[in-house]
Symmetry: C2
Subunit: 194 residues, 2 copies
DNA sequence: CTGATGCTAACACGACCGTGTTAGCATGGC
DNA sequence: GCCATGCTAACACGGTCGTGTTAGCATCAG
């Protein structure tokens, strides 16, 4: 067993190279050759890790969801329920370069997903997880009396979810909304639920 | 001057063919040949109307915004301010096949826009227009006393805008949110502003 | 040291890309 | 009826695509 290569590490390196290509050239211009060059390897080596372009795209989309979920779960240790809620929601806003990259890639792959069944499933899964997280945040706040006790959690989770995703998209695209205004808007929204 | 061909009509026919290709194959698989075949013409003919692929994409993106704007403006005749507000906002939700198509195309082109300066400008323009429409809706409702008179219009326009775009995206992608629940959520949101 | 192993890279292949160019053809004005 | 006009379609070009295939090479077990 020669050449000790961490397979997971390699997969992630290539996926991150794909992210950069998507950011630079757009999803429509992605080719495995470009991704391999961006990752500093040959396209033949890339194909030993991802047998097809579809696999590469699918893994890269899953990696975004995994990264975000892991960081969100890491905030479970925050004691203050209010700060914890905001910290989790902040993970899906493009507040810094890392999160902006993740959100841009996610948006590009989501936009491409209607035509790719594999991507569609992954996108749906991520959507359901974020919806669940929104609901969990609201029940958590309700338990501490920080929002109205008779809150319709399902309906408000849907609203919070739409608000967060919409705000994220507007920050990504526009010049009117900034990371700061988006963060404040989310916080203010939660405050109105009290 | 032989061959009387309505240039505008032809441009729109081709753009709508592009929409169908984007819906069927995704933005990443779009080629001028496919679009020409979908429109029932040769790629040579297409190039007489759109000199380049970039022009085709740009026009098609603008056409989405134009269609939505025209329909929204047509609702200006609705007397009841509440019904008028909901009718305008409904135009950016994928409530039927036509609107779903427009929203899918718009999402695909927005996702591609970071890498294409021309598309980016068009997307930005559309975003600003929708933001303005949200603000106009809120001031209109405030004038009739249907929302709180001391409403922070700019902040609430930002929230409404994010909510509408986020809900539209979730209906497009997911199976949890439907056109009906999205419409009701928007209406309920406006009600909370009273 | 040696051989087996699995990563690497280079090339091949057919297909398709965006973009030109050009010949032809159907149609309107005179 | 005939010519000019502008839409149409077909082909060419260089490039790049996704995907195989294969030879080589660096590495670790024994």
């Amino acid at each position: 067993m020669p050449k000790l290569i961490d397979h997971d590490r390699r997969q992630q390196d290539i996926a991150e190279a794909l992210w950069r290509v998507i950011q630079r050239d757009g999803i429509g211009a992605v080719s495995v050759r470009d991704v391999a060059a961006e990752a500093g390897i040959s396209s033949g080596s890339l194909r030993h890790v991802f047998a097809s372009k579809a696999e590469l795209l699918a893994y890269s989309m899953r990696l975004v969801a995994t990264r975000v979920r892991e960081r969100a779960q890491a905030h479970a240790s925050i004691a203050d329920p209010w700060q914890r809620a905001l910290a989790v929601l902040d993970e899906v806003l493009p507040l810094d370069d890392r999160r902006r990259c993740e959100m841009e890639v996610n948006l590009a792959l989501v936009a491409e997903s209607p035509a790719h069944p594999l991507l569609k499933d992954i996108a749906l899964d991520a959507q359901r997880q974020l919806r669940g997280a929104c609901a969990a945040i609201l029940t958590g706040l309700a338990r501490h009396g920080l929002v109205a006790p008779d809150l319709d959690v399902d309906a408000e989770a849907m609203r919070l979810h739409a608000l967060v995703d919409g705000a994220a998209m507007h920050v990504l695209l526009g010049d009117t909304d900034t990371p700061d205004t988006a963060h404040r808007m989310i916080a203010e929204h939660l405050r109105t639920l009290a």
